[in-house]
């Protein structure tokens, strides 16, 4: 077992982990951060995407010990003072989720994408999200949500 000190969503944690423990399993099983999910075994789907020191990583592709001394942000750490993150808001406004399983990863990746490129073209959005799979939406509304978060489009037909 190896001791790690990690800051997750603003809280400092100190834990013993097996060296083979993946970051995503550490988050889910030891910290109860079950908002971050596992969708595949091959780092294709991106459902487990979190931020490590502010950059998106697939948490199934990082060992927990690699997070030692670093900051992790998960989907559960985005709400500040009761306010949704603008990307969360955009996903809801644009109906960019159906079953919602890919959504935490998709939102974390979108935040990273817009950090790198605040005004992406549709093509840049599509390529920027290539590592995150969604089976429900056909990506149409996910692209719209990214555009809305970037201030490029307004939500359509809102009634609430």
């Amino acid at each position: 077992m190896t001791r790690i000190n990690v800051n997750v969503d603003g809280t400092a944690y100190s834990d013993e982990v097996e060296p083979r423990t993946l970051l995503v399993h550490y988050l889910r099983e030891q910290l109860g951060k079950v908002g971050t999910v596992v969708g595949c075994d091959t780092s294709n789907c991106g459902s487990c995407t979190v931020h490590l020191d502010g950059k998106s990583v697939k948490a199934c592709n990082v060992l927990a010990v690699q997070a030692d001394g670093r900051e992790v942000t998960t989907i559960e750490g985005l709400v500040k003072n009761g306010e949704l993150h603008p990307v969360q808001e955009a996903f809801r406004e644009c109906h960019a989720l159906q079953c919602g399983f890919c959504t935490p990863g998709m939102i974390m990746q979108t935040i990273d994408l817009l950090g790198d490129n605040p005004q992406p073209s549709e093509e840049a959005i599509r390529h920027g999200l290539e590592g995150n799979l969604c089976r429900c939406t056909g990506y149409h509304n996910i692209v719209r949500a990214v555009q809305m978060a970037a201030g490029q489009v307004q939500a359509e037909g809102s009634s609430s």
Binding site: G35, T74, H95, C99, R126, R135, T137, H140, S160
Partner: protein, 798 residues
């Protein structure tokens, strides 16, 4: 664009693009996936699966696994042979259907690679998996029936004891049932004086590939055994657990918490659920099993996988006179929950939106030593729609007219509804002219045809193709009587309940459950309008057999058309139960009361009382009329009188690089007529996602087995579901001809996009390649396949 305006009184919510109630928790990670559940003392299970497609199990050595620390139990099929129950085949499509017994855990013989032979239960998931690696199984490999067509010839038997691989034979013949003429006569006549088109079409094997891997937790502590499972069918699971394991139904509670997609893939009762149930019962401790993605792809049921042999007869002018269909359907190793009926569901859809004189459908489901095949989004209808829409394009080429013109010549005119088809189905409504006109307009059909002509003349290496798909489907499974005639094991009704809480809030309980469809939002909209209760005061509960005690679950685009109607009936009962109480409290005659906007008013006066006030008065029950029960709560069960028949016109433009075989989507337009729309935002999402899945069948996805029967595409590296970079934005719109068989006029939309888009894309590819002499291609249309087809047409080697 709207053809017929809905006439449903004072609607505020129905038709509004309400943001979804369920999203708040989903976008913040406050979710309850089955795998999130942690219980005191919970144990974890890992499976030992067969690496062979067909083998006898000689010996299983579990000693090394048992010796690992923290391993609680190792079970083999033999250990539990007497108590494990069976996995149900609920649709014996013929009374003489041959179906192998499907045990949760194999005892003597495995019939596909991925079948469970033993399980390990340990304190952690990692320890369970480590120990599973140490279970040593001796197999004697047997010849495997893998290729569908060879299997149909019984060269190698998938299950030697059955004596054949052919599970059944099912036929629909229009002459025999009196819904049309003789197809053989029509074909003979067309061979002499008309046009005959013959095709063999491969419907490749697909995998539903929902994003949330399946997970099951069973807690045997307490009076009831509780199962949380990532399933579309909690009620069916509960019923079948009771029926096959001997545990009384009343002692079982099944909960489908947040479920991450299904697409038919979770319309199953699974070996993994049954084994988890058994292990938890045996050990007296909660047990969790969560599959890996590879396990999901190899052991969750697959979809499609057919060979279709088609003969279409037409006059020289292009009027279709007959269609003969012979389907070989690969069932895989076992007949799943509804798998026996899935290929047969296509029987009513091959004639699609057209008027044929004669029709015959023959279906032979075949057992093989591959993963079992069952429902996948569309389930029987996409296969049928693909076949007929491909044939209509070929007929257009033969006749020398535009593909839309050939369809128009054959389709049912909007004034001809209700229309009984050659397959014997009565379509209640539709307007194919309107949907097609609108689709052509948005698509810029004539301009794209002009561009195509230009590229052809210029011999552009990148050719433009335009694909047409004018589809219909049958939704809203299903009238129970029809299911009974088809030998299905259950009915097709749905149940709803409305509870009027004393605080003015309303609980709505529905028997179908959502795994992405947005029931919580759409159902709130319906009840809000019907009872005049604010949208936010309504809570929709589903997916827990203790809360929603009756239901037949979610599949076949049934939730709204069947479950929505049950909801309306329950709401109307609430109003009728409130009426005498309102009359009593308002000191008025019942006949003088009218109910609008959530309030009973005495006609011609200002005097009135809100339904929520009556609910509070009923709770206190201090002043109720004599003989009236102190409850407004109501429930209703609705059995549909007919299917509903959504339809639409999808147009796809593709650019095909004739030098590399690369296909690029250029434009996709979908105009769907799904009747009255409750929430256009949710509907758009369903259409988008459906289109993408159908495109994926056309271009990318295929479950591939090697010669030994190993699934090669058993990860997302090899089973290539599309990413955002693979697809484009879609242009969608609607025309509306309300269904006449339910109160709201809804038709169902869950599967429409998937059914329509596959032929639209392949027709577009072939339309691009037509001048090069290419007239057929097998799916998925990978660059290599497209390039090979071009080379073959040129006379070169493929």
């Amino acid at each position: 664009m709207t053809i017929i305006e809905p006439t449903t009184g004072t609607q505020r919510e129905v038709g509004a693009a309400r943001r979804r109630k369920e999203d708040q928790r989903l976008i913040t990670g406050r979710t309850r996936w089955s795998d999130n559940i942690q219980l005191p003392g919970m144990l974890h299970m890992a499976m030992v699966r067969s690496p062979y497609a067909h083998a006898m199990i000689r010996r299983i050595d579990t000693e090394q696994a048992k010796a690992l620390p923290n391993v609680i139990s190792v079970l083999t099929g033999k250990d539990v042979a007497e108590e494990q129950g069976v996995i149900a085949n609920a649709w014996a499509i013929t009374t003489d259907q041959k179906a192998p017994a499907h045990l949760p855990m194999a005892v003597d013989r495995v019939a596909f690679a991925g079948e469970v032979v033993a399980v390990v239960v340990a304190r952690s998931a990692a320890e369970a998996r480590d120990a599973a690696e140490l279970v040593d199984v001796d197999y004697t490999e047997m010849p495997a029936a893998l290729d569908l067509r060879e299997a149909a010839e019984d060269k190698v038997l998938a299950h030697p004891d059955l004596g054949t691989n052919k599970s059944s034979f099912w036929q629909l013949d229009s002459a025999a049932q009196g819904s049309g003429g003789s197809v053989d006569e029509a074909i003979a006549e067309a061979r002499a004086n008309g046009i005959v088109i013959e095709r063999e079409i491969r419907q490749q094997r697909l995998i539903p590939a929902f994003m949330e891997p399946r997970s099951t937790v069973v807690d045997p502590t307490g009076e009831q055994i509780t199962m949380w499972s990532s399933t579309q069918v909690p009620h069916i699971a509960r019923f079948l657990l009771a029926a096959t394991t001997g545990t009384p139904e009343s002692k079982i509670r099944v909960i489908a918490p947040d479920v991450g997609g299904g697409f038919g893939g979770k319309l199953q009762t699974t070996p993994e659920e049954w084994i988890t149930f058994l292990a938890a019962k045996r050990l007296g401790k909660p047990v969790k099993y969560t599959e890996t993605r590879s396990e999901s792809l190899m052991s969750g049921h697959h979809g499609r996988d057919q060979w279709q042999t088609l003969t279409l007869a037409a006059t020289k002018e292009g009027r279709v006179t007959g269609l003969k269909v012979d389907v070989l359907a690969d069932m895989g190793a076992y007949i799943g929950l509804v798998g026996g009926g899935v290929p047969v569901l296509g029987a009513w859809m091959y004639n699609a939106i057209y008027k044929f004189d004669s029709y015959q459908f023959n279906c032979t489901p075949v057992l093989t030593n591959k993963t079992w095949v069952d429902a996948y989004r569309g389930a029987g209808r996409p296969e049928a729609t693909y076949a007929i829409e491909r044939l209509m394009d070929e007929l257009a080429v033969e006749v020398g007219v535009d593909p839309i013109a050939i369809r128009e010549m054959n389709w049912i005119k909007h004034e001809e509804f209700p229309f009984t088809t050659v397959a014997g189905m009565t379509y209640d409504s539709g307007n194919y002219e309107a949907a097609t006109a609108r689709a052509k307009e948005i698509f810029g059909y004539d301009d794209l045809r002009a561009e195509q002509q230009k590229r052809r003349e210029q011999k552009d290496p990148v050719q433009l193709g335009i694909g047409v798909s004018t589809f219909t489907e049958m939704c809203g499974l299903a009238p129970s009587r029809v299911l009974g005639q088809l030998n299905y094991g259950a009915g097709g009704w749905e149940h709803a309940e409305i509870r009027m809480l004393p605080t003015g809030k309303v609980e709505v309980i529905t028997g179908s459950s959502s795994h992405g469809q947005g029931h919580e939002t759409a159902w709130s909209q319906i009840v809000a309008d019907r009872l005049g209760i604010p949208f936010d005061d309504i809570e929709v509960l589903h997916g827990d057999t203790q809360v929603s005690h009756k239901g037949l679950d979610t599949y076949g685009s049934r939730s709204l058309t069947v479950g929505g109607e049950a909801l309306i009936l329950a709401a109307d009962k609430v109003i009728e139960k409130a009426r005498p109480i309102a009359a009593h409290l308002l000191e008025a005659a019942e006949g003088d009361l009218e109910f609008t906007d959530g309030k009973f008013t005495v006609r011609g006066t200002e005097q009135g009382m809100a339904l929520t006030e009556i609910a509070t008065a009923v709770f206190a029950a201090h002043n109720l009329p004599d003989g009236v029960e102190a409850s407004l709560d109501s429930e209703a069960t609705y059995d549909p009188v007919n299917f509903s028949f959504p339809h639409g016109t999808h147009l796809c433009a593709t650019e095909v690089d004739t030098e590399t075989g690369q296909v690029k989507l250029r434009k996709y337009v979908a105009v769907d007529d799904i009747g009255v729309i409750v929430n256009p935002m949710i509907v758009a999402g369903q259409v988008h996602g459906g289109i993408a899945q159908g495109i994926a069948q056309a271009l990318w996805e295929e479950a591939v087995y090697d010669d030994a029967g190993t699934l090669v595409s058993a990860s997302f590296v090899d089973y290539t579901i599309p990413s955002a970079a693979d697809v484009i934005s879609f242009d969608i719109d609607h025309t509306t001809s309300p269904s006449t068989t339910n109160t709201l006029g809804t038709k169902g939309v869950g599967e429409a996009g998937t059914i329509a888009s596959t032929p639209a894309v392949v027709n577009a590819i072939l339309d691009a390649l037509r001048p090069l002499g290419v007239s057929d291609i097998e799916m998925p249309c990978t660059p290599h396949r497209v390039w090979s087809a071009i080379r073959a047409a040129k006379g070169g080697q493929s």
